[in-house]
């Protein structure tokens, strides 16, 4: 892999950028791999990267049915934070947060992780109780968190309305929360994994699993069979479809989740603002668009569309927070397919099929955990046993009742 730097940029400028190499190869699949990762989103690519660079397993393929990062990785609102309530979550998302730091340097790819601060607004006594409970828990888990008074909020976000139908009574701030460039995360992991020997195979759909005596031995794909000693499925919205191919069900439902961007403008929102009370969140990308999202549609769908009323509700909430944005314009709106669990926590787990592992259920909020999820999943696949941080997220919890219920105490989870 030729390194990227200011110097390589200048050097290449003199040859009119004719000599840049491919960011990743496009190899034909081998007959067999030690590990096959199904799904070329951020989580799948990160898993492959850590397998190859930390676990010494380089005979790895990532198989993607479309284009890399074209799933939820390429369509999320890029919020990164680790201020979750439960200890299990704090460990997982906190782990990711540590990896975000220095990730650009590790991958030699600028993923533009921007810890610009993230605010959760509280609009009612109940909201205040919720952020206080969560803020204290986060603090005691060793993660940064602060409460802001309404005055401090006003100072930090000058143009936001503090009064309105739902006045701002306070906020929870995570300073290291922020955003990262979604596409760059997928591309950076892909390039670095490729450099470490991983085969990235796009436009190749997994259509079935070869299972012998309860053990997976390979995958069937649109480009033929590919053998595998271990298979990790990281297909987000399509996880139930994959599980059906393997003969079991998942505690998941796939819903449309929509987002939108405004036309680009000069900086006006400098941090990430989330409100459970009015139900929406907003940040501004480096290009200047306001990036806006809210809750998912309430019906199962695989169409990457969603219904228009959600957009309307979302912007109502945004304009309640920012009445002066009514003259701003929506540039584009889109949808993803999010795989949602009842407890709003992911599933990183063994399955009824030996050597077949699933990493899914990230629902509306897994982008932020891309490095952490890939890291613990890689170690789990390499050892044949779940990483300690991943263990509580086994799918057995839906039988035992040991849910990690991030939904029960707080409402939104992005």
């Amino acid at each position: 892999m030729s390194r990227y730097s200011v110097f390589s940029l200048v050097r290449n400028a003199f040859s009119y950028h004719q000599n840049w190499q491919r960011a990743w190869r496009s190899p034909d699949p081998k007959r067999e791999y030690d590990v096959v990762i199904v799904g070329g989103g951020g989580h799948g690519l990160a898993t492959a990267y850590y397998l190859a660079t930390e676990c010494g397993i380089t005979n790895v393929a990532v198989i993607e049915k479309g284009w890399l990062g074209g799933g939820n990785t390429g369509r999320n609102t890029t919020i990164v934070r680790s201020n979750y309530l439960w200890d299990e979550s704090a460990a997982l998302y906190g782990h990711a947060m540590q990896l975000w730091q220095g990730l650009s340097q590790a991958l030699n790819y600028n993923v533009m992780y921007s810890p610009r601060g993230l605010l959760h607004l509280a609009h009612s006594v109940h909201d205040m109780q919720e952020i206080q409970r969560r803020g204290n828990a986060i603090y005691l888990n060793g993660i940064d968190s602060e409460f802001l008074s309404p005055e401090q909020v006003r100072e930090m976000v000058p143009f936001m309305s503090m009064e309105g139908r739902y006045p701002v009574l306070g906020a929870l701030l995570q300073k290291r929360g922020g955003t990262a460039r979604h596409d760059a995360v997928a591309w950076g992991y892909a390039r670095a994994a490729d450099a470490a020997g991983v085969d990235i195979i796009q436009n190749c759909e997994v259509t079935g699993f070869d299972i012998q005596d309860g053990t997976v031995t390979g995958v069937q794909t649109s480009r033929g069979r590919i053998g595998a000693k271990t298979v990790g499925v990281v297909t987000a919205g399509h996880s139930s479809v994959m599980a059906e191919m393997a003969g079991f069900r998942m505690p998941l439902e796939s819903f449309p989740l929509q987002a939108l961007v405004s036309e680009p403008v000069k900086p006006v929102v400098d941090c990430v603002i989330m409100s459970n009370g009015v139900h929406a969140y907003i940040s501004q990308s480096d290009k200047g668009e306001l990036v806006i999202g809210a809750s998912s549609d309430a019906y199962n769908s695989y169409t990457q569309r969603g219904s228009y009323d959600i957009i309307e509700d979302t912007l109502q909430a945004i304009c309640e927070m920012y009445p002066l944005f009514t003259r701003m314009r929506m540039l584009r709106q889109w949808g993803g397919i999010v795989d949602v669990t009842v407890d709003r926590s992911p599933i990183i787990s063994k399955t009824p099929v030996r050597n077949l592992y699933f990493n899914c259920g990230w629902g509306t909020g897994g982008f932020k955990c891309t490095p952490g999820s890939g890291h613990v999943f890689a170690h789990s696949l390499a050892n044949g046993d779940m990483h300690a941080i991943a263990a509580p997220f086994s799918m057995d919890r839906f039988n035992s009742g040991a849910l990690v219920d991030e939904g029960a105490a707080s409402a939104v989870a992005h």
Partner: protein, 96 residues
């Protein structure tokens, strides 16, 4: 934005309705004899099919009734609407 046919009120805008997920999940009669896994399956595990999905809706802003629909989740095309207690139409698999 779907156009949904309430079996009682006829075609109405989606915003009058709410979806409640998979239909035809009968509550087990013998729950106390079930093991944790079987019970967990009833409470949490869903088909979540990509294809014809039999699902429940309520007409919240209209008659308030629950009813079922068959919808292809890969295209969002509704194939049938039917009342609770009725069996889904037989020939749904033709599309998917």
């Amino acid at each position: 934005m779907f156009l949904i046919s309430c079996p009682w009120c006829g075609e109405r805008d989606q915003t009058e309705f709410h979806c409640h997920g998979e239909a035809h999940i009968a509550r087990p009669e013998n729950s106390l004899e079930m093991d944790d896994a079987a019970w967990g399956d009833y409470v949490f595990f869903r088909k979540n099919v990509k294809g014809v999905h039999l699902e429940r809706w309520t007409h919240d802003h209209g008659c308030g009734r629950w009813f079922n629909a068959a919808r292809n989740t890969a295209t969002d095309e509704f194939l049938a609407f039917y009342k609770p207690g009725e069996a889904p139409p037989a020939d749904l698999e033709r599309v998917s």
